[in-house]
């Protein structure tokens, strides 16, 4: 359980940011969604603190392409900051439905997509090996130990 994003990201690194906006200028999500930009998230974290961003649904527009880190002239690890924000946001219940569904599927089956009869038949037609159910007790055991129940219900 984390209480602050600064447990996962060194706040000192943010002071390196001089708001050049190369990250936002390179960001595909910012291109598609006007209300999103890594520079803006950095600024709000610095000036207003983590509470100003972790409840904001728009942080999830990130495509995780990592181009912001690639291009930051100050070598700030922006994806690491965003991952810290996402993790705390998820814990507080700010987690997009589709991500929650995927995480839930992984916890219940070990896979993020449903393997149904149609899939199995299609694979059989191509003489591909069957997708046998995974050892879910083992997987769930690991996820219980790592505390996944902080964000979703585990059996």
């Amino acid at each position: 359980m984390i209480k602050s994003i600064w447990e996962l990201f060194n706040k000192e690194d943010l002071f390196e940011c001089y708001q050049c906006a190369r990250c936002t200028g390179s960001c595909p999500a910012a291109m598609a969604m006007n209300s999103y930009g890594p520079r803006e998230i950095l600024l709000r974290c610095l000036n207003l603190g983590q509470e100003a961003v972790i409840g904001d649904e728009r942080v999830w527009y990130c495509t995780t392409c990592n181009v912001c880190e690639d291009r930051c002239p100050q070598e700030i690890n922006i994806p690491e900051l965003l991952t810290a924000i996402f993790n705390l946001a998820a814990q507080r219940g700010n987690l997009p439905e589709k991500i929650k569904f995927g995480v839930d599927m992984i916890a219940k089956t070990g896979r993020s997509l449903i393997v149904n009869d149609k899939v199995l038949k299609e694979r059989q037609k191509l003489s591909l090996p069957a997708l046998d159910p995974l050892n879910i007790d083992e997987i769930e055991g690991i996820l219980k130990k790592t505390g996944l129940n902080e964000i979703i219900e585990l059996s």
């Binding site: 598609a32 392409c65 996402f86 992984i106 393997v115 591909l128 996944l148």
Partner: protein
């Protein structure tokens, strides 16, 4: 050569034809693939964002399965390669994290040792098999087809984790493997603006497909400008954007791109002259006929 075959979640379920093509191509190159009971990698676009520690431990379990079999991993999806390579590197370098993960793994009987490598199909083809051997195996050259490569972000970003040994002096890196492989197959890999722009996939799968498709459209427009005839991808999520996404874009904008996209194994299979019924050519929404007629 022998690898543990990391299928991931998307390819075996949504695009089994790509898996079939990969198995056939690797058999033609005398590479043995072993199936192990891997779980989801888990993806850098969901589990990592939602719960970092769970992401780390579940990825470690997958790495352990390969370690116990004494095999390096071959991945064919950018999400998988991103997670597995990053976690492998973190756990090899950070004793604190390794301790924490091995504690979580204790009840499962696995322990991370750091004894294997993880590679994407593209790097196995370029570096382990070699371009010469690939060229020797070609029976139907790709006739100078103007193919635009889309590598996909998670394959190589961040380069300090994905390609730490290949960084330039400025610590940057962009991949070239797919262009070289396609040239060996007789195609004309064609450059285009915004080649290293994201396809938009995660925005679509996590939030909303429409804005994600707008990012794909930006790429398609540049490809068309450079008279590209087909897109080559090495990731099923990128494929979804260029194929399914393009279909949705067509309904909205009537751009008429008609730009087919192919998974790299399909292009290898076509050039090797493998039985076309084993190459998953029916998995496409954007017609492949204009290029299939030429090869």
């Amino acid at each position: 050569m022998k690898f543990a075959f990391f299928l991931g979640c998307v390819i075996p379920v949504k695009y089994p034809g790509f898996e079939k093509a990969t198995r056939e191509v690797m058999a033609a190159l005398d590479i043995e693939l072993v199936d192990l009971p891997f779980s989801c990698c888990p993806a850098p676009t969901n589990m990592k964002l939602a719960h970092y520690d769970s992401w780390l431990a579940l990825a470690a379990r997958n790495l352990c399965l390969a370690e116990e079999a004494g095999l390096p991993i071959m991945a064919i999806c950018n999400g998988c390669i991103n997670t597995l390579k990053e976690v492998n590197l973190i756990l090899k370098q950070d004793p604190q994290r390794r301790l924490q993960v091995n504690e979580a793994l204790e009840g499962s009987g696995h322990q991370f040792k750091g004894s294997i490598e993880v590679k994407h199909l593209l790097d196995i083809l370029q570096k382990d098999v070699g371009l010469e051997r690939i060229a020797e195996r070609v029976r139907h050259p790709l006739q100078g087809l103007r193919i635009g490569c889309h590598y996909g972000c998670h394959l190589y970003r961040p380069p300090r984790l994905m390609y730490p040994d290949d960084l330039s002096e400025a610590s940057s890196y962009v991949p070239v493997s797919m262009d070289h492989i396609l040239a060996a197959l007789g195609a004309s890999p064609t450059q285009y603006s915004r080649k290293f722009l994201c396809c938009g996939s995660a925005l679509g799968t996590n939030i909303d497909a429409q804005p994600a498709n707008e990012i794909t459209r930006e790429k398609l427009q540049h490809m068309k400008k450079h008279r590209i005839e087909a897109v080559a991808v090495a990731c099923p999520s990128c494929f979804t954007q260029f194929d399914r996404g393009q279909m949705m874009l067509e309904r909205k904008y009537h751009d008429g791109f008609g730009l087919p996209s192919l998974f790299i194994s399909q292009l290898l299979g076509l050039a090797f002259g493998l039985d076309r019924s084993t190459l998953g050519l029916g998995d496409h929404r954007i017609s492949l006929n204009p290029i299939l007629d030429r090869i």
